[in-house]
Subunit: 282 residues, 2 copies
């Protein structure tokens, strides 16, 4: 592995296997051809041509559209393509910040290739010598996604109906036992984006990034069972682990690499520096 | 103006007006069609087709190639397209960090559209309340590029034969009277890239970015006449000025916007946040 390998893995995709999912002139996502051809039988609200997937003109409001998507989600569970729905809904928007056109169960977002958003918080401690250490979580072994992998101190998908700030407070409490006062000290520092083909479909993800500096005596406490344990690692160890292993949740590699770039640990002396810096945001 | 307007201005270009400049299978740059068609008359080392500009097979080493480029540079001065050569040379490389294939006078880089590299240092002061202030330079009125515009505390092109670290020390001394010990505390924090069409041609620039935290009593001193005076501005004033004026050197807007993103001044509440974050690196 190398830093760049992780970035490339998160951006490997071949759009020729998909057709665009469009609504009202906006491209909302991408659907695999095989699923696209099944959709009109699942719900007559889907209109599918060889060029694209869209919704029938009479499917025109948020609830009706969401209901058509729910039928597709149910179908994907019944055929075993998805093991279970999450009951957590993501907004489907023409762009971040725009009015959602409909909601979609988080479990089937990749099948429709609609952009998903999340937030990741780097919990870090400044050592007396100026070096940085990062709090990392070992994900519980019973997680469906990336069981046992290393994760950020706080990370979560961005569901419909919450602002980023509200979600940050909620996830900070659930994942690390951090109260709202401390969570509010997290500083937004940018975003990482990637577009990755998986067995499920196309993941088009944007992760809003935050840095939260913590006192040396602070210890995060997981409350929702998502994390098995937390450890505080010096950045050298983090870097070596990211560079040489697949121990980290696939997209967390990118968040940690971005942290190392912003804090001067990864420098222009790294031969892949520019490819790394530009590869983290597309 | 808006933040995004500055980013768009630095990325406005139409490649249909150019043809690629290639060597040994690498695309080195882009040349306007009109100049491309003149090149074989300027030096027989240029081989030009409707598809591309390249160099003749017998022009095969660094010095010979550089000499062909020097003839073109001289021609551009004689025709008035360039007012004067700089006598400062940029490397022409297949990629950053690769062995230079030739050198080119800085004054004609845009005419050949070869990527140029530079470094910009944000000199900043942390205020007692946690807010940040940025040292900015007012460029001298006699500068050929962006006279009188606002600039970073330290900024400079990356000439052939110097490492970034060496150039940082040199520019820190010349532009801000900062010694090597203090300059070495600058932290690399990423890069900004843009591709901009100008009257001269195509600017494909990569700026390596550094943050240098300074004590409250430090005052930069220009030694090379490039800066008329320095001022310490709170980030609020910097932001307002970038957002609403064209007072800043065109590419410095991008450096300052990146600084505001990384330090949490510009947040995801900004409607253009994602376009800004992804637009700064391409």
């Amino acid at each position: 592995m190398s830093y760049l390998d992780h970035i490339r893995a998160c951006n490997a995709h071949d759009l020729s296997g998909f057709r665009p999912f469009e609504l009202e002139g906006h491209r909302l996502g991408w659907v695999r051809h095989a699923l696209a051809e099944q959709l009109p039988d699942i719900d007559p609200g889907f209109v599918v041509t060889t060029d694209r997937v869209t919704l029938a003109p009479e499917v025109r409001d948020f609830e009706t559209r969401s209901s058509v998507m729910a039928h597709a989600a149910q179908f994907l569970v019944e055929t075993g393509a998805v093991s279970a729905l999450r009951g957590e809904f993501y907004p489907v928007m023409p762009a971040w910040g725009a009015e959602p056109l409909m909601r979609i169960d988080r479990a089937v977002v990749a099948q429709f290739g609609t952009p998903a958003y999340g937030l990741h918080v780097n919990g870090f401690v400044r050592q007396p010598d100026g070096g940085l250490s990062l709090w990392i979580g070992r994900r519980a072994r019973d997680r469906e996604v990336a069981p046992g992998k290393l994760d950020n101190m706080i990370a979560g998908g961005q569901p419909i109906g919450l602002t980023l700030a509200e979600n940050l407070v909620k996830e900070a409490q659930e994942e690390a036992g951090i109260d709202a006062a401390l969570a509010s000290r997290a500083i937004p520092v940018g975003a990482v984006t990637y577009r990755m083909e998986t067995e499920a479909g196309l993941k088009q993800d944007t992760l809003f990034l935050y840095d939260l500096e913590l006192d040396a005596d602070f210890v995060p406490q997981n409350t929702d069972g998502e994390v098995e344990r937390f450890e505080l690692w010096p950045l050298d160890r983090v870097a070596e682990s990211v560079r040489t292993t697949k121990d980290w949740k696939f997209n967390v590699n990118l968040v940690v690499i971005d942290f190392m770039v912003r804090h001067g640990w990864l420098t222009p002396d790294e031969p892949d520096y520019l490819e790394i810096v530009t590869g983290l945001r597309r």
